[in-house]
């Protein structure tokens, strides 16, 4: 199969073109010579199946950033039959350098001058035919977003694929050294083919930035935008999530329960409470992930995410993070899983890993449910809001502490120089496609892991068969008993330890687990817990719940996104250690003070 590689600088609309070409059928895959996964899609072009690969955006073919190395290694080990080079027409005066570098590699090249619509608006005119003649390669003006010029460009791509790609690859590195001519060549081509008005007139972006990046107003606006975003995702997400849960419950009652009524209890339990609940757990994430990325596409593609980085950088730089990391951290307060997936916008791997280490400490909505229940059981209505607020503060403190401790280990060595693109409105199609791609990615990667985890916890809490489920005689109870010496100093009893084992799967099921463990539910359960625990023990339990592993889906996502078992283990180990230390310090401290 012939291969087309998409190449270009960041912010050129490369992914938009890729999505237009592949229509959402893209998949991630591994390639020889590189360690990161790349999106690729297969389409029919001129009667043949062709594979299109979306390479990361790069500024320079011989740069030192992670992405630049990836592209170099990819081109070296997987010579494409055609390089489709995408340049942002509004910035052609500097982006042409990348094209000329690529031209030296003697590859089969077709060039797309993208964002032709925007360039026209800014008064930039390009003589594509003349440029084509000067550079001796096919060049087309295109609007990947709206589709203008697309059909013509695809015809050229089909035609270009008929030619064999010339040599290249072997002396790649040495060829890349000859930068000298590039500058003169660039000046020559630009002079003959491009006209840029002396004063760029993007009034809209100028005006918006005057408010959005205002010295005093910028930050309040930023927090207001984040708040709206957050509310938006959960305003629409929560009913959808409830709906999905109801649908799964209904399907179980209406079809699966009767179907398995004759089966032995162990089979019933394993299939329904294990496998089926696992699938339902995965499904519950679907609406949140889709909504999150619909909104993220809006924030990212509109150019506001770079503005957030600008506003928050002063604070975040001290933590070894950047402002985009802060946005993801905030979104983590809704749900850690899409927030972790969203860190992909950070192109420096070290900074991305550090951000991923910090996000799981965000007090997500599932953990909030546990805290609301326990706070209501143990604290007066007056004290309850303060307790919840203190937990949010602890969440931030844990995130900051983690960043400070690990920032030297995950040292970002890429220059922090970001473009601030003009404000743009993504099309609905772009947003929907993003949501769809991310959710299918999550489902493909996380389903098996999560279902296996749910089944395992079911087995632990139900075996051996002679024991009462979730009692001290089950394997989970034994584990709880075994770890009792570890949990006793932090004031967490054996029943709560079993609940923590459940909580490893998802915090949503902790209260349900407590109901099973105590054999009570609702008010009776909160009464029993209120009787058995004092507030110091309860707060210690909440601190532990806040800081240790958020849920299986988070673990699965950490592993998928980092592709590093060592990193996932570090994240798990560190959060457990921090949870224990914080609870220990709190519990022993409070007891020492006589509470």
């Amino acid at each position: 199969m012939k291969r087309i590689a998409l190449l270009g600088m960041p912010n050129t609309g490369k992914s938009t073109l890729f999505n237009r070409m592949t229509g959402g059928s893209a998949r991630v895959g591994n390639w020889p010579g590189i360690t990161v996964e790349l999106l690729s899609g297969k389409i029919l072009l001129g009667g043949d199946m062709v594979e299109i690969i979306d390479l990361p955006g790069i500024y320079d073919l011989h740069g030192f950033s992670d992405d630049e190395q990836v592209v170099r290694h990819f081109l070296h080990d997987n010579v494409p039959d055609l390089a489709l080079v995408i340049l942002n027409t509004t910035q052609i005066e500097r982006q042409m350098s990348l094209l000329l570098q690529l031209k030296q590699l003697n590859m089969n090249i077709v060039v797309m001058l993208n964002m032709a619509d925007e360039a026209k608006k800014f008064g930039i005119t390009v003589d594509a035919a003349k440029m084509s003649a000067l550079l001796e390669m096919p060049i087309f003006l295109l609007s990947a977003k709206y589709g203008g010029g697309y059909a013509e460009a695809m015809q050229a791509v089909t035609k270009a694929l008929r030619y064999r790609t010339p040599g290249m690859a072997e002396q790649l590195r040495s060829q890349l050294e000859q930068d000298e001519h590039i500058e003169t060549e660039m000046a020559r081509v630009l002079k003959h083919t491009v006209q840029i008005p002396a004063q760029m007139s993007d009034n809209l972006s100028e005006k918006l930035d005057r408010a959005m990046l205002h010295p005093w107003l910028g930050l309040p606006i930023f927090f207001a935008v984040m708040y709206l975003l957050f509310q938006g995702i959960f305003f629409f997400g929560q009913p959808l999530q409830t709906g999905v849960a109801a649908l799964f419950g209904w399907l179980r009652e209406a079809a699966l329960d009767p179907l398995l009524a004759g089966a032995p209890p162990i089979v019933q339990g394993l299939l329904l409470d294990g496998v089926y609940n696992g699938v339902a757990t995965v499904a519950a994430f679907i609406p949140i992930i889709i909504l999150f990325f619909l909104f993220m596409a809006l924030v990212e593609d509109s150019g506001y995410l770079s503005r957030a980085a600008f506003l928050m950088d002063a604070l975040m730089a001290r933590l070894g993070l950047d402002g985009r990391g802060f946005v993801m951290l905030l979104m983590g307060f809704g749900c850690n899983v899409p927030a972790l997936m969203g860190t992909r916008v950070m192109r420096s791997r070290a900074m991305r890993l550090l951000t991923m280490l910090v996000i799981p400490f965000s007090l997500c909505s599932a953990r909030l449910q546990v805290f609301v229940f326990i706070t209501a059981a143990l604290f007066s209505p007056k004290a309850a809001p303060l307790v919840l607020f203190s937990l949010y503060l602890s969440s931030f403190a844990a995130a900051i502490l983690t960043a400070l401790i690990f920032k030297h280990r995950f040292k970002n060595n890429e220059p922090f120089v970001l473009e601030l693109p003009p404000y743009r409105f993504p099309t609905l199609r772009q947003m929907a496609l993003r949501g769809w791609l991310e959710v299918s990615h999550f489902l493909r990667r996380a389903t098996k892991f999560i279902v296996a985890g749910v089944v395992l916890v079911w087995l632990l809490t139900h075996l051996p068969l002679s024991a009462t489920p979730a009692s001290a005689d089950t394997f989970a109870g034994m584990i709880g008993g075994f770890f009792h010496p570890v949990f006793a100093p932090v004031g967490i009893n054996e029943q709560l330890t079993i609940a923590l084992i459940f909580g490893f799967v998802a915090k949503e099921i902790v209260i349900g687990a407590l109901a099973v463990i105590y054999g009570l539910s609702g008010d009776a359960l909160s009464g029993a817990i209120g009787q058995q625990l004092d507030w110091v023990q309860a707060y210690s339990f909440m601190l532990f719940t806040l800081l240790y592993t958020p849920c299986l889906a988070t673990v699965a996502t950490l592993q998928n996104e980092s592709k590093q078992l060592k990193f996932t283990a570090l994240s798990l180990g560190w959060s457990l250690a921090l949870a224990w230390l914080a609870s220990f310090a709190f519990y022993q401290g409070a007891r020492a003070l006589g509470y």
Partner: protein
């Protein structure tokens, strides 16, 4: 004309890049974003709390930290004969 660095400019100032004294990785990135000696650059704004700078070079708006801007030597104003594209 006195030479200074990009970091010391005030919002609204024009300047011409004289030299870039950055390590290789930063140098390459700046080159790719259009930073070259002789090019005109405008400081648009500075973020509060010693945050990053927003500069305009050609048709591109770029943000960079003050520590990095300090590695770009500039000459205030438009230098005679500076090449503009």
């Amino acid at each position: 004309m006195p030479s200074t660095t990009l970091a010391t400019l005030h919002p609204g100032d024009f300047a011409t890049i004289v030299a870039i004294h950055a390590e290789e990785a930063l140098h390459q990135r700046l080159l790719a974003l259009g930073f070259r000696s002789g090019k005109q650059i405008t400081l648009i704004r500075k973020a509060s709390f010693s945050g990053p700078l927003q500069v305009r070079i050609g048709t591109t708006d770029v943000m960079l930290r003050r520590s990095e801007a300090a590695k770009v030597s500039v000459c205030k104003g438009v230098v005679q004969g500076a090449n503009e594209t």
